[in-house]
């Protein structure tokens, strides 16, 4: 049994027999066959050794480029310039993230969900998208936002408490952060259904974590996307921990294998290998564009930090685990590769360090000068077409505020009317 699916090319009917499955497997692309074969191997190995299945890796933790018959072609045109861009993305994303953690500690942000350790998964997949591809993130996709060109300081408003989202998703094709776990996978699926209806060849990518795979909405998103053959990529960052619960508390099977039951391919990739994440996501997006439907990518990575700044991971996991993952750090890995191949010199790293400092300073300055919203803004944008009760309560609250002796003269005018 493989994770290769009959569903992508044949009408989706329950109970496709083995005969049909093998017939369609012959028609699959070489990449899919390799994925399927890889999973066969992985599952066999898993059964034999009781270990984890293999994952797609193009750069070893030591930064050595290894060949991969299935996925090499998706990064065949990567230049040293491109590698430096990926490196820069990861370094600046990590710096931005660290700055946000510090700002939370200083009381400038109420909360921050750090992406530390997941830079490769986010930058690799984010850089695989085209400008017209649409991203549906969780609340931790700071690296994907960066790749989509979202000003990182926009991400901070909701964590400072000045808004509940705040950016225009259509500017960069990057939907608002979604806090309730897994909901956005359905939005992504619906959006992708719309893309298909429009006859566009863009794709949609939905981010979620290992914990989200237990949510009904994710299961329903898998079902809907498969039934309608929607051009959506499900990008699961398995960072091993859903706050305090390890992945074993979410699933008895490796997460990428869930795809098999829904009739589309699933693949596990080394989530700390930016090149592999780029390649696998390109494969999945191209599949979606070509009308071959959804796919699931499980980026096997690690949340190096706490779940959020409110979390204390020492209560549920050991330091040794983190240390083991530190050896697989996504940034060090690419740096080792760049240096070994002579693709980057000291000047490049020094320049990047300076750029990183500049970014850090800008983030601090922007956050500290972010104004609190006006109280009357509570009544803004609740409805697109207005609502009598909102108008009434706005007027009442404005009159109440104006009733204080020290109220500004024009306070009774209230906020903007929708």
């Amino acid at each position: 049994m493989t994770v290769e699916s009959t569903a992508a090319r044949t009408p989706r009917r329950a109970g496709s027999g083995g005969k049909r499955a093998s017939a369609s497997a012959k028609k699959s692309t070489s990449a899919e066959k390799d994925v399927a074969r890889g999973n066969d191997v992985a599952q066999g190995k898993e059964a034999a050794q009781g270990g984890e299945p293999e994952l797609v890796q193009l750069l070893t933790p030591e930064g050595v480029r290894v060949e991969n018959e299935a996925y090499d072609k998706y990064v065949a045109d990567i230049t040293p310039d491109d590698l430096r861009v990926l490196y820069r993305d990861m370094v600046l994303t990590r710096r931005f993230d660290a700055e946000a953690v510090t700002l939370q500690r200083q009381g400038e942000l109420g909360l921050w969900p750090s992406l530390l350790g997941q830079e490769a998964a986010q930058v690799g997949s984010g850089r695989a998208t085209r400008a017209d591809d649409y991203v549906f993130p969780t609340y931790r996709e700071h690296g994907v936002a960066w790749c989509k060109g979202v000003d990182p300081t926009l991400l901070l408003g909701m964590f400072r408490g000045v808004n509940n989202g705040g950016w225009d998703p259509n500017t960069n094709g990057f939907q608002l952060y979604t806090i309730v776990i897994g909901s956005q996978t359905l939005h992504a699926t619906g959006y992708a259904m719309g893309v298909a209806k429009d006859g566009a060849d863009s794709a949609v990518i939905a981010y979620f974590g290992d914990g989200a795979t237990s949510q009904g909405d994710v299961a329903e998103a898998f079902t809907f996307s498969a039934v309608y053959n929607a051009p959506v990529v499900f990008f699961c960052q398995n960072n091993q921990w859903a706050i305090s619960e390890p992945t074993e508390k979410q699933s008895r099977v490796p997460l990428y294998q869930r795809a098999q039951g829904y009739g589309f391919p699933g693949v596990r990739v080394d989530g700390n290998d930016v090149l592999a994440c780029l390649a696998v996501t390109k494969w999945a997006l191209e599949r979606a564009r070509a009308g071959e439907g959804p796919s699931l990518i499980e980026a096997f990575t690690y949340r190096m930090g706490a779940h959020t700044t409110s979390d204390d991971p020492t209560r549920y996991r050991r330091d040794e685990e983190r240390e083991a993952w530190e050896a697989k750090d996504p940034i060090l890995r690419l740096r080792a590769h760049l240096e070994a191949e002579g693709h980057a010199d000291e000047g490049f790293f020094a320049e990047l360090e300076a750029e990183s400092e500049t970014l850090g300073k800008r983030v601090r300055d922007v956050v500290r000068s972010m104004p609190d919203p006006e109280p009357m803004s509570i009544f803004e944008n609740i409805y697109a077409d207005g609502h009598a009760l909102v108008d009434e309560e706005r007027a009442q609250f404005a009159a109440y505020q104006a009733s204080f002796a020290d109220a500004p003269v024009n306070a009774a005018a209230g906020g903007e009317v929708n």
């Binding site: 359905l186 699926t189 409805y383």
Partner: protein, 326 residues
């Protein structure tokens, strides 16, 4: 002038047909809405005429229906999602309340999610459990949603088109036990604004406020009361959120007595909100406390006793008598 006599179900069908015809972005989606035409045949023939791409049979998953409808709306579509029965909406409640209602505000107004959720609601059809509920208050309580319910064919026809044209999410409750009640629909008329209440019977002694399936019950009660020499005014709210308190207030200032009637349980029901606000607005006009007639604080009962649970003519008249006794 094109005036047709249509049952409510058919008026809703015609309304969707007009909307599908007028705007290629309008989609109809839900369980069994396509080939079957819906379990009440409300979508009958739409898939045949507009295709599977626009009248979509969905997997049997309500959260999935709403979640994908939101995604389609974000892409520029105007989905009209059907929840097959009132009691089946709760798997989708999270998507409606947590996502649909808040998205426009979260994006500071930069995106719109014009999703209509059609829900056949209410009892009186002898159904098994979860098929007879009236959960409108659970949606009216949520900012970001609008909640409307027609009581007759003309409103069903026009209000659904207005809901589809609205840039806000609208929960459209359909009085399923009145689906086959016929009424005139003038398809050339200029409809009333979607969120305006309507006085459907003039009276002087007390005001009955109702919506959806209870409007007919209240009109019958007013007929019966007239035989006893009592003159009841009946206001059809049509819209529960926003709620047209001005029309109710004007009526109560005239009649000085108010009884709110709905199938939903009285406790924390829409009648409680109406009573509170009308008491604030009409304190010096009221001759009696605002009374409420509705469901009990009990699970919707088995069909064989539902007529005892649902407000009927006698329970409405009993409340009228109690009001007039003050």
């Amino acid at each position: 002038m094109a005036v047709k006599k249509l049952p409510i179900a058919k008026a809703i069908n015609e309304s969707m047909r007009v909307a599908l015809d007028a705007d290629p972005k309008v989609l109809v989606m839900g369980e069994d809405v396509g080939k079957l035409g819906g379990v009440f045949r409300v979508t009958d023939g739409l898939q045949k005429d507009f295709g599977e791409d626009r009248v979509i049979d969905t997997p049997l998953a309500e959260s999935g229906i709403l979640g994908t409808a939101i995604g389609l709306a974000l892409r520029g579509y105007r989905p009209v999602a059907e929840i097959q029965f009132d009691g089946f909406v709760f798997p989708a409640y999270d998507q409606i309340v947590t996502q649909l209602a808040k998205m426009h505000a979260r994006a500071l107004g930069k995106i719109k999610v014009p999703v209509v959720v059609r829900i056949p609601y209410g009892g009186g059809i002898g159904a098994v459990e979860h098929h007879s509920e009236s959960p409108e208050s659970l949606f009216a309580h949520v900012a970001g949603l609008k909640v409307v319910t027609p009581s007759n064919s003309s409103d069903a026809y026009w209000m659904l088109q207005q809901a589809i044209q609205s840039d806000d999410p609208v929960i459209f409750f359909e009085p399923k036990r009145r689906y086959w009640d016929k009424g005139e629909v003038n398809t050339d008329a200029i409809p009333d604004p979607l969120h305006k209440a309507r006085t459907v019977r003039e009276g002087t002694d007390a005001t009955l406020v109702a919506y959806g399936p209870m409007v007919k019950t209240c009109l019958e009660a007013a007929d019966a009361a007239a035989e006893e020499g009592k003159s009841l005014e009946v206001v059809d709210l049509r819209s529960i959120s926003p709620l047209d308190f001005d029309t109710v207030q004007a009526s109560v200032e005239k009649t000085r007595r108010l009884i709110v009637v709905h199938e939903a349980p009285v406790f924390f029901g829409s009648g409680a909100e109406i009573a509170a606000r009308i008491t604030e607005r009409c304190f010096y006009h009221l001759e009696a406390p605002v009374l409420r007639v509705g469901g009990f604080h009990a699970p919707y009962p088995p069909a064989r006793v539902e007529e005892d649970y649902l407000p009927g003519l006698d329970r409405v008249l009993d409340a009228v008598d109690r009001s007039l006794a003050y």
